[in-house]
Symmetry: D2
Subunit: 411 residues, 4 copies
């Protein structure tokens, strides 16, 4: 297990960090102000496109994409420390064209898309000209069990007809969002994991109706946002099916591994920033005749946070390393482990930072509250903690079955 | 220690519960819709005043006020179960005219206000005609140590001149909010706890400027809101001083005891509602072929939540009982204890409920996320956990000093 | 709910506390020394019988027994604060003849025993002349599910024949231990909860073999101890059956309620003592130029411990109150709640005290380590936490079923 | 950061694992039985020496020693996975001559010992012929602050005279234990960290008196044991001073780094074994009609344990890697981090396993309770958690001082 970073990566870290400090952090407030000054928060603040152009020009673009034809061609292990840096700011990932769910959608199209789909949808995404969303979760069923998904995708001549109510289609609030990848049931009589398909649905198709945008703890996350979308007799050309009918689960599996680890990397960056800001804050404040940084309880928070972050980062690097070397499937226990631990770790770290900041911490004068709320969703998105833990336990139990040999050190 | 409820209280519980079910819960959405449909979220949704009139007519009004001339004359122990019921909905307390910070301000005026102050400010508050705010916390110092407060209140002839920057003046967003009680330094050379005064400042006084409203985890809490207020050479008549110069700390002490326990009671109600909704939800959902209510982990959350709520409620009742029987000062350890435990308990209970609800839980389709964010502020407001714990420890250490006799059972 | 203590109880508290300070605490080391100086640790240190006589003479005897013919006739609520005091020392309960499992066995005999059984077994127990054990748990099955119990009790003429392997028969190491109450399957074809019986087995009966004594975290708990006992074709007169065949579960239910709450009361006493000793210790030690009592983290432990103890005590009092007023069955949720929370609370409190004491805390120079180990068993004995939590959850879910009315405040 | 294991290490892992399975696990009970069958538990069970000879013959000997002249010459990173394997059994480390405190003492002698000291004390230790102890901690002061240490070492002609009371001198119960390395104050007027010296004291010197052996949660840890030793006017030749006068702290620093990481490695092995045994146990037991391995709560424990172990192991490997590459001093934050997290992690994992085993888990029928008690001491030994956390916080605060540049990714 070799976590050393190549010169290439170290160079990218430096450039990314410099970009963050020069362009991202100072413009977080600008972004928010422009949003508020617009007629509606659901249009694009100019600073966003401006910074995107800068990032693209500097070659800090599409770093997420392991495919070297279309993207940077970095391994997961190489991307990890870069993605972490981006995760320090909620506005950063999009500026580097590394924002979910576009990243996942781009990977799906690179891997499973037809040439025509790549031309029409992948290229403008890679170019940052359009955006996309992913419509999987449904309000009426427990989506933690994906076999519950009930939207229908029915072949009718040269078209597919889509019906269903989806929510938490993130990014659909963005006026540049041009299409959704929709998961639904196409083959109800097939074996359980071959009943679902994924299909590309342009958002301007007749029958697609954004019912409302869902807030997260009071945040609208504009202009990105989380939409509830009604698909009512929506017709798209049959060629919009991705890969082929019945491959929904297979694609989801391929999509979710990298998607999850990207979330974890970003989360670690957010935690790291919270610790950074907590450390600075407590050195600048006094109470009861003493710097807050001298208080035993606050020192305990700092130490505990450093330990937790460090451990979560190492486990994330291990998962990345395994994905690169033995593949996503063999790494599924490690992926599940970081999917559980990273958000739980960061929520604790950020919560401590909020407490250290006092009332300022719950407002928007720091990024703490916003990061907290965002990361809280990641104990649910892509499967709740409990489902991942159950999977970890099952894998673990299998390795320690009474019949099996004694545990062997795993390298 | 007798926690039995009198017939009067049981009767009020029933009437309050009935009112909640008939008028409050069904109108939580109405309230939010009216807010959004108005030109600005900072004006009053009609449903609010409508329900206030109903509550007043039913005698469910000013129950918080122990003074029987001005209010219901209930003891803390009697009010506890009633306040808890109100706490189940974020819109309820105001409808019963039991909303912070007005309750605290009313108590201050009843206890320490001049006849003129009572006539001018207390009566319309009691009547629900106006609202008020409390300006104590400042952005530039750690207000957890109240001696840090730096706003100045300087006598100049028949007037006082107030200068300072305050924030988290809750309720100041409300167009009906007519005055602030401002805490500031009037006697910088007096002994440490006699340097501060409290003074009534009408919000339409020249020099009072609301700089901005502060969000809480993305929530604006409109039309109530939390204001940052600049007091710049603000002049008010000398008669606006409460009690007399140098009594700021004394008043704060008197104000905070009941204020804190009211928060705790409401918090318990919010936790109780979260558990209620979690229990219902998990009986209505299935995943992996089984009702969520059969999952061991979810049963564990339910049991743990019930235990935690029950314990926090009993401790709150004990604190109330002691305040009633031996006084706020003798009850200060118990008050500090519930101030710490109630919000921490509720945050855990609500977080579990959010997790059980899945993505719905972080949106506004339930009250969970809003309650969580609101209660998160109560680990900071009126003193952060750490300050209260330090006080508890000091009292405890004193009781177990090596010189002192062995601990005696406390009844 | 009235937790006030009567004059009688307050008087008993004072006398018990005085007795503890004069006779128990100073003799804890004497007890241990006498044990070690004897030829075997499995005989009775003289100090024990000496103090028993003193306690008996002072009327601090059999306080546990609600029956006023045979015992003190105190309610559970009255006994709670007394039992708590006894729980402060591991040698105390026996000295007051209030030690498990004898207390439970005496209650069983008072309630369900025949006149002959009372004469032969109850009286000497009440008198402190003999001791007894309770043989329920078996090594080969998960006894958390009592229907797993597999020992057999078979009628053969005027006798019953008992076969089975039991362990954790506490008290069987004591040379004064004269009989076991054995639970076993007598009616395998009856309905599930009528298959078991309880029967009195004198330990000197042929076929009763104590295989070994089981340690608890290295403690032998001599001379009391925890035995593994083989019952091989053991024959006892038919009159030894308690109540009648098939009543094993019914008796267990009646036995366990009070047994559990007694454990909880004692546990609270142990936690209280740990906090007491921690507070004293940290005021006597310095590190890094400051009293340990000034360290923020230690103050946090003290505050947290006080909060947790206080809450657990109140919940225990509530359970006791309910057992007294509405009966053990109606109080089953509350009993389950304290059965879970009391040991978990105390383990945390004691662990903090150990940490504050440093290495001394893990030795036998304080009572901390011994209390910790003993209480750790109480997360398992009488049902593991998980079984109790499951029961709490089920009761809770029933109260919040979607069909049922909204939660009503419980008095 | 490269955690890959060389062929040499993988080969040693295999051989160690095979040895554990063939000789260690099956003889854990034999060891205990022989101890009990001896006249006293404080003499050496024959199985111990027997297995030592086997291990030595197989070349599984002195693997801990980085010095390749005297030992195996492995790096910390190479030794980590081997030490972990040994940590799975409490009897294993000594069998491989890798037991604390001898390992630390041997390292001290290799690094700082004179040729004569090496000849006389190091060689027989390396050979496994004698054993040694380390006398630093004192009962009367908080040794967490090492400047508190008060034993005196006074030069008198060609001798040093030692006076002081030490405790927790582990290993001193062993009849083969021939000397102690004693830390004491030799130069009370020197700068704070140059006042202490370390000196070799043969245990048969006049004035050395073992007052008693201290238990750990009821375990005597015989024949090793933890002694309280009185040094009363003990005279040893001046040549017994290690390095030179005033170097006590410098030696302690050099000694503690590796000592701490060895403890952590062993702890991880103990946690791994607990998880292994928990997984097997729950697949063999049923309750309420279902395998324990299907219970959601137990699955949660397993998953949580796997995550925690994995994270702690990776952090330990990182600390080892840093010690090897940048040195113990530069790795001090990482060493402190694992010193805190490893025992806390293992205590949680083992406690869950105990709970899953039920009553068996607190007895000695598994190794769980013994491992738990042993590891509990490691939250205190070599500095309590709180001191390490404070150090981590200080280092962290320095890196995030408001003046300093923003945090840089650490490789």
């Amino acid at each position: 297990m070799d976590f050393s970073f190549s010169e290439k990566v170290i160079n990218l870290q430096k450039r990314l960090t410099a970009f963050m400090e020069e362009y991202i952090y100072p413009n977080e407030k600008t972004f928010e102000e422009q949003l508020n000054d617009q007629e509606t928060r659901w249009s694009i603040p100019p600073i966003l496109e401006e910074l995107k152009q800068k990032a693209k020009k500097e070659g800090l673009w599409n770093l997420f994409l392991p495919d070297s034809e279309y993207g940077a061609g970095l391994t997961n292990l190489e991307y990890a420390p870069l993605c972490e840096i981006m995760g320090r700011s909620m506005i950063a990932p999009e500026i580097f064209n590394c924002n979910a769910p576009d990243t996942g959608n781009m990977e799906v199209l690179v891997r499973y898309g037809s040439e025509q789909q790549k031309e029409k949808w992948l290229k403008p995404l890679l170019n940052g000209d359009i955006r996309s969303c992913f419509s999987m979760t449904e309000p009426d069923v427990a989506s933690s069990d994906a076999t519950n998904i009930s939207a229908s995708i029915v072949r009718d001549g040269d078209e597919y007809v889509i019906n269903g109510l989806k929510w938490w289609s993130s990014g659909a609030g963005d006026p540049r969002c041009k299409f959704a990848i929709v998961m639904g049931k196409s083959n109800p009589d097939a074996p359980k994991h071959e009943q679902q398909s994924m299909i590309i649905v342009p958002l301007d198709t007749k029958g697609v109706e954004i019912k409302r945008m869902l807030p997260v703890f009071g945040y609208d996350h504009a202009p990105h946002g989380h939409a509830e979308i009604l698909f009512h007799d929506v017709r798209v050309p049959a060629e919009n099916i991705i890969w082929e009918e019945g491959k929904g689960f297979a694609i989801a599996q391929g999509r979710l591994g990298p998607g999850r680890i990207h979330h974890c990397m970003r989360i670690i960056g957010a935690a790291e920033r919270a610790l950074d800001e907590m450390c600075k804050r407590v050195q600048e404040r006094e109470a009861f005749g003493e710097s807050l940084s001298k208080k035993g309880v606050i020192q305990d928070w700092i130490a505990q946070s450093r330990i937790e972050i460090e451990q979560a980062r190492l486990l994330t690097l291990k998962a990345a390393y395994m994905m690169d070397t033995v593949g996503n499937k063999a790494a599924k226990k490690e992926i599940a482990m970081i999917k559980v631990i990273a958000p739980n770790m960061a929520l604790k770290v950020i919560d401590r930072a909020i407490q250290a900041f006092g009332a300022k911490g719950v407002s928007n004068d720091t990024t703490l509250a916003a990061h907290w709320a965002n990361i809280r969703t990641l104990r649910l998105a892509d499967g709740p903690d409990e489902v991942h833990k159950q999977q970890i336990a099952k894998l673990e139990l299998r390795e320690h079955s009474p019949e099996r040999e004694r545990f062997q050190w795993q390298q």
